[in-house]
């Protein structure tokens, strides 16, 4: 269905020369890199004195040669551990950072030229930082935002009413931001960043720190907004559930490089050389050595779950059917957070332990 990303770029380039601009991807990133220079110092008293005289620097390659394209109306999920380069990439696309090398075009403009027409058409939400005025009711911050973006009065009213309805913000509009719960505040942040009707949305951790029900609601809203207005969205999140629920396509980044770019379903195939085989047994099989076939993920009564290398899946299945009284057998891809976690090396995977587990239980709820 979807062309692989490099192909899509190649086609886009051709389109620009021979065909109409309509087929051009909305976001086109080619070989984008960003390198920072950061001072470093060890802790302690002597090190403090030493650093007075001689500062040492370290090169940090936050993003190294990233290329991809995004079509209008797509929702793309960025996955990767902390410091993988997700936020840096988003910052370059929203014009906050100049790349060290490479090019990017968004909405036909170069983001870091920071044309105000461009800025008017995009929005960036940073879940970890608030752009609302702490001591004021949300409504006042919205008003300032409307003035800064020069949104006509009636259009502002109309959009605000719509967003307030969709986000169920009515009761909190007139409360001071500092009195709101984190979830309510996040909804206000989302509302303010959508007031000017952006065509492209960069959402950096839009659900961070919010409780599970609120996460689900924010997620529903984002999906709804995308369907209703056809906005193009790039989203990063610690929570797998955000990505699995919203994004058909994911881009996995680690250490500044793209590990995977494609359909969510294809992700496990590409990154996980495993299958999960689940069997229901007709009789007890005490003493049967499941461990010889693969990793035993779960074993209770007559249900067993095994993880086996992809290549061995067929032979293991055959053996199980032959040797055991199998009632039912399914072969599945491993859960996505497992895949990502393994791809980034063990449990340090997608995020802090408790966040991953929160995402899992979330998945269970659905």
């Amino acid at each position: 269905m979807r062309l692989p990303s490099c192909g899509c770029c190649a086609i886009a380039v051709r389109c620009r020369f021979w065909e109409s601009r309509i087929d051009m991807p909305l976001i086109e990133v080619d070989n984008l890199s960003k390198t920072f220079r950061v001072p470093e110092r060890e802790g302690g008293f002597l090190a403090a004195i030493r650093s007075v005289f001689n500062r040492r620097f370290r090169q940090v390659h936050a993003v190294r040669g990233v290329s991809f394209c995004v079509e209008p109306g797509e929702i793309v999920g960025f996955l990767g551990p902390n410091g993988a380069g997700k936020t840096t990439t988003l910052k370059m696309l929203s014009g906050l950072l100049h790349p060290t090398s490479g090019t990017a075009t968004v909405l036909g403009d170069v983001p870091w030229r920071r044309h105000s027409e461009y800025l008017r058409r995009i929005s960036m939400l940073m879940g970890q930082r608030s752009q609302l005025q702490w001591d004021l009711p949300a409504l006042d911050s919205f008003m300032v935002h409307a003035a800064v973006y020069n949104i006509p009065k009636d259009q502002y009213r109309q959009r605000l009413d719509k967003l307030v309805e969709m986000l169920e913000l009515g009761p909190v509009l007139k409360k001071q931001i500092r009195t709101l719960s984190l979830g309510e505040r996040m909804k206000c942040e989302i509302c303010v960043s959508l007031l000017h009707g952006p065509e492209v949305l960069f959402l950096d951790e839009p659900t961070i720190g919010v409780d599970i029900t609120m996460q689900a609601r924010i997620r529903d809203f984002i999906g709804d907004y995308n369907r209703r207005y056809g906005a193009t969205i790039i989203l990063t999140s610690h929570y797998m559930a955000d990505v699995t629920a919203l994004c058909k396509r994911v881009i996995v980044i680690d250490q500044g490089r793209i590990l995977f770019d494609g359909q969510l379903e294809a992700l496990s195939e590409k990154l996980a050389p495993f299958k999960v085989i689940a069997i229901d047994l007709d009789a007890d099989t005490d003493g049967y050595d499941f461990a010889a076939l693969g990793d035993v993920l779960a074993k209770e009564d007559r249900k067993v779950k095994l993880r086996v290398p992809k290549g061995a899946a067929a032979s293991v299945t055959g053996r199980l059917l032959r040797e055991l009284p199998v009632l039912d057998l399914t072969i599945e891809d491993p859960p996505i957070e497992d895949v990502i976690g393994r791809a980034f090396g063990g449990s340090s995977g997608v995020g802090p332990e408790e966040e991953t587990s929160a995402a899992e239980s979330q998945g269970g709820d659905r």
Partner: protein, 269 residues
């Protein structure tokens, strides 16, 4: 006692490390202590020069230079700023972990105070020399005056630190208000003799300044060092009064501290 001493030196080491880390900023804070006496010197020496005899209250240009040079040093070494600080600590909640420690927070504040003064010396001493070279103060100081003057600086520093801390405790009641810092600072300027030598004040103000402790933090050590106090008995009496005010301040701290902490735990607990 040894536990307190050990904690104190740990705080001091940490304080110095922090100050070195923020060396750029602490230098900026120290500059004010250089500019303010220099400006006062310029003002008063220009004013004295406008008078027929070229003096004000026995201060000629050279004496003003000596007075404000001494004040520059004394002001730096005896300063304290907790009236500005504690309100912030209470507001931001940083006070709570300090109260959990088995040592009074005042010791950490003292360590911070000392580490600032120690680390800034490398910057201010050359500046003091530069100022002295520019304004050529006329000193008339003998060894005993200098010796007692150094003791008076130490006592003045202790007095200012403790009294400032006592006033800072008001923050436990009205943490939002930074007014106490301003009030205390203004008192140091006027009654402490940092704005003008106390002898140059109108009589009524000079009399009022004698009733207050601020003079003993700044004016007294400065006048001793510049050699204006010529009578040893007067100098010793001054040291005695400094000690008395220190005692009063410590008693005030003891009395107020427990009330303040009770208040803090009642409100935020």
């Amino acid at each position: 006692m040894t536990a307190v001493a050990r904690s104190f030196f740990a705080f001091l080491r940490k304080g110095i490390a922090v100050m070195l880390q923020y060396r750029g900023e602490i230098v900026l804070w120290a500059i004010w202590g250089l500019v303010n006496p220099a400006v006062s010197y310029a003002l008063w020496s220009a004013a004295a020069e406008s008078n027929a005899d070229g003096t004000i209250a026995g201060f000629g240009r050279g004496e003003f230079a000596a007075y404000f040079f001494a004040m520059m040093i004394v002001g730096h070494l005896t300063q304290a700023w907790d009236t500005y600080e504690i309100g912030h600590l209470v507001r931001s909640g940083e006070m709570s972990p300090k109260l959990l420690r088995p040592i009074l927070p005042i010791w950490e504040a003292l360590a911070g105070n000392l580490s600032y003064k120690i680390t800034t010396l490398a910057f201010v001493v050359p500046m003091w020399c530069l100022f002295a070279w520019l304004v050529r103060p006329t000193f008339d100081t003998s060894a005993w005056q200098l010796g007692l003057g150094l003791i008076a600086i130490v006592l003045g520093a202790v007095l200012n630190f403790v009294l400032n801390y006592v006033f800072a405790l008001v923050a436990f009641w009205t943490p939002k208000l930074d007014a106490m810092g301003e009030l205390y600072f203004g008192a140091c300027m006027l009654w402490g003799g940092r704005f003008a030598p106390l002898d140059a004040l109108p009589d009524i103000l000079r009399w009022l300044s004698g009733l207050q402790p601020f003079k003993w933090m700044f004016a007294f050590p400065s006048e001793l060092i510049m050699g204006r106090i010529t009578d040893p008995s007067e100098a010793f009496r001054g040291l005695g009064i400094q000690l008395a005010w220190i005692a009063v301040s410590i008693v005030g701290f003891r009395a107020l501290w427990s009330v303040a902490v009770k208040r803090y735990t009642a409100v935020s607990g």
